[in-house]
Symmetry: C2
Subunit: 457 residues, 2 copies
């Protein structure tokens, strides 16, 4: 039970052995700044969607080494006894700044910045990356799908196509990306998300006839339910479905189509429903949808989409490829210093970055700016730009101060707020952001060094 | 805490509402057989690898509705009070047969067969699919990578590139696919898997010089450790690394290269190490590897591979696309009857299937046979074939009897046994199975109806 409770071992071993070595070399306590960002947006993505921040803060609440964890580390000699003493008392006491859930991000946007001792920040690396790499990938796919769906609601039905716990987080991330509900009950329970559902072919096959199955479902869920009409023959299924609802005294809520050519089927079924007089009965479709299939269904008489595989696997991009890098730390001389690695194809930009977004006269996002330097100077620059009439807003919020989590960023409310924010922010992206095709990020990222920047050593 | 303990709500809502409706229509208690299988192998896969069975049985042990779960269902009126009474007492009491972890599978192979009442089997659908769809995808990718790596060890370093809990399961699945260890500590703790690790660029950057960082790591982990040599300049890094180990009185264990052209780097670094006399120092590489990159490194002087993203995301196929279908159930007449849906492109084959694999004279797998019919008749056919000199072996084992789990299939030992079985079974696949290119399954699946088959109604 405790195995699944603490989050501290959801971690690469090297985070612990590095801390162990740094304790010995007396560098573990050096003030450090780590940034979490993507070197580029994955192919085809015009923007990324921030999701998972709330889950990170929840994981942070449970990031401690339980006696069972300590036993494991000790028994397998993963680290020295000194390090074990350190882990036993570990609690994060630093600051974390982050982009809000629902915001969008671009190349090098610092989605999260961790300021603390090296040891404290190092230990968090793996779990921070795991959560954001997963949740941002799903939310980004979800946002593309809800763009393609225009105002028609999309529902997450992907639980069965991904790891059982990832499915719960995917439901949460999909809501931030604009989805309207999920089939996942744990997500409903944990995050207060609206749950939805129809029925499976097995339910029809269980009964002695399709009529009996439809009657059973309507007896239980009422005629407003959604009946699955493609177990045998769709036209017969539709006719039986409408009749079964009417026998219960009302028009059927909806039919679901889960196979075949969905565009053609939708037109046929809509026609049949209309001829039967069931004009209020809706059509939901669910077979292997992604943003392109949804876009192709745009002109078809479909009322909602149930999305599985492609949502929970990030529609071709199952991980957001975000990294977590040390950009500043105190040196032997006691001064804060920017640091960067020079590795070919994986170089980083030294120094703490403060992110801001510039909007054009029409209110559309125009540029992502990363100012390298001190917070004070960043604030002054922002003020100056605003005084010049430029609309520019900072992206990060301080979410953890001296180890204390600001609770507005966690719990079910954070999901609702993230979904609202995303809607608002997405509406202000330039038109290029709405393209489903592969291409450049919707806006450019510009790195600006302020005089206070800590130069790389 | 209990939120993450029970597994019953890791489930699509419709499983519960179907049971609710079936309780009302008095079909919930009908004896049913569900099969879990893939309609086809995903593109490019010559075989699939079974993994996750042990996790399913562990999830089954915790598949119960806690008071908190019941409260949620009640408060949100997900189901009726009668159904809630049923869920409150729910424990699975049926039988489950399955392919062993480490076995391979092909088109329509019934990886798992659940025999119970409709209600009991229906409730398990989502969690069974989630676990197998994830774990089989990872194990299948792992097996392709270990084929490409020949005897060189592969290590899982993917935790940060997938959901934090999926990473633990991915480590487990990768071991079944032939990996030699993982960076994931929770996987080490929970499944007894060997954990490994090197260090990150941040560790080097934390220190005032590369020399200081190398010294710190060796002071802590000994000269047998693996030093990361590409933070600044690789030739300088290698020289410093070797010197740092020698200063501690021994030859360096290994160097890690994490960027650039890995083939070229490996040759250069090997040459340099040899010139320095560090002939025993090994080389591990880790940058964005998949089975193709590993194959390309086959001729390079590399000693081991650290694999991240592509492993945990199934190397292009993040979900195994397995489905769970009702194939037989008792009808109104009290007789067991095969059932199948006719939906275009998604039709199923009625009747319970017993799987067997035929081997040719040289001992290589030649055909996957699915016999539709009774167990007794299947056993007789097998005996007859064996009497004729044909090597044919049944694939499924009975893992749950009347709700009681056979414990040999769970816990850390199951992982070790799965890895051994996979090695053994993979060695007996025909040569086509070893192709990394896209193509047909390594062996054909043949469905054979026995006289005792329950025909579809």
């Amino acid at each position: 039970m405790s195995a699944s409770w603490s989050t501290s071992l959801l971690t690469d071993m090297y985070e612990l052995t590095m801390v162990d070595a740094a304790l010995k070399s007396r560098t573990a306590e050096r003030r450090s700044v780590f940034e979490l960002f993507g070197r580029r947006l994955p192919d085809s993505r015009r923007f990324g969607v921030v999701a998972g921040t709330g889950r990170i803060l929840e994981a942070l609440q449970r990031f401690e080494f339980t006696p069972e964890d300590i036993d494991y580390l000790h028994k397998h000699k993963i680290v020295s006894d000194d390090a074990i003493d350190y882990f036993r008392d570990y609690r994060f006491t630093g600051d974390i700044w982050g982009y809000r859930e629902g915001d969008v991000y671009f190349k090098h946007s610092p989605l999260m910045t961790v300021e603390s001792t090296f040891a404290e920040a190092c230990l968090l690396e793996t779990v921070l990356l795991s959560i954001l790499n997963h949740d941002c990938a799903v939310a980004s796919a979800a946002s593309r799908m809800t763009i393609a769906a225009h105002k028609r609601p999309c529902f997450d039905m992907g639980a069965r196509r991904t790891h059982e716990r990832a499915g719960v987080s995917a439901a949460r991330a999909s809501m931030i990306g604009g989805f309207a509900g999920t089939s996942n009950l744990e997500a409903g329970k944990r995050y207060g998300i609206r749950t939805i559902g129809t029925s499976a072919h097995s339910f029809t096959l269980l009964h002695d006839s399709e009529e009996a199955a439809f009657k059973a479902q309507i007896d239980s869920l009422g005629p407003g339910t959604t009946l699955l009409v493609d177990t045998y023959d769709i036209p017969e299924g539709v006719e039986r479905a409408v009749a079964a609802a009417r026998a219960a005294g009302a028009e059927l809520g909806a039919v679901r189509i889960d196979s075949g050519d969905l565009v053609a089927q939708a037109f046929k079924v809509r026609g049949q429903l209309d001829r039967l007089g069931a004009k209020s009965t809706k059509i939901t479709v669910t077979s292997d949808l992604d943003e392109y299939a949804i876009a192709a269904l745009g002109a078809a008489p479909v009322d909602s989409y149930g999305v599985g595989t492609k949502l929970v696997t990030g529609s071709g991009i199952p991980t957001a490829a975000l990294v977590y890098k040390l950009v500043e730390r105190v040196g032997a001389d006691g001064k804060m210093e920017g640091v960067a690695k020079a590795s070919k194809s994986k170089s980083t930009i030294a120094g703490r970055k403060w992110a801001a977004r510039v909007y054009d006269e029409e209110g559309y996002a125009a540029e992502e700016r990363l100012y390298v330097g001190s917070y004070d100077e960043f604030s002054q620059v922002l003020q100056k730009e605003q005084d010049r009439g430029i609309t520019i807003t900072p992206r990060q919020r301080k979410m953890v101060s001296d180890g204390v989590i600001d609770e507005q960023w966690i719990g079910p409310e954070a999901v609702v707020r993230g979904a609202e924010l995303h809607k608002e922010i997405r509406a202000k992206l330039p038109y290029a952001a709405w393209h489903l095709s592969e291409g450049e990020p919707a806006i450019e990222t510009r790195v600006i060094e302020l005089p206070s920047a800590n130069p790389a050593k």
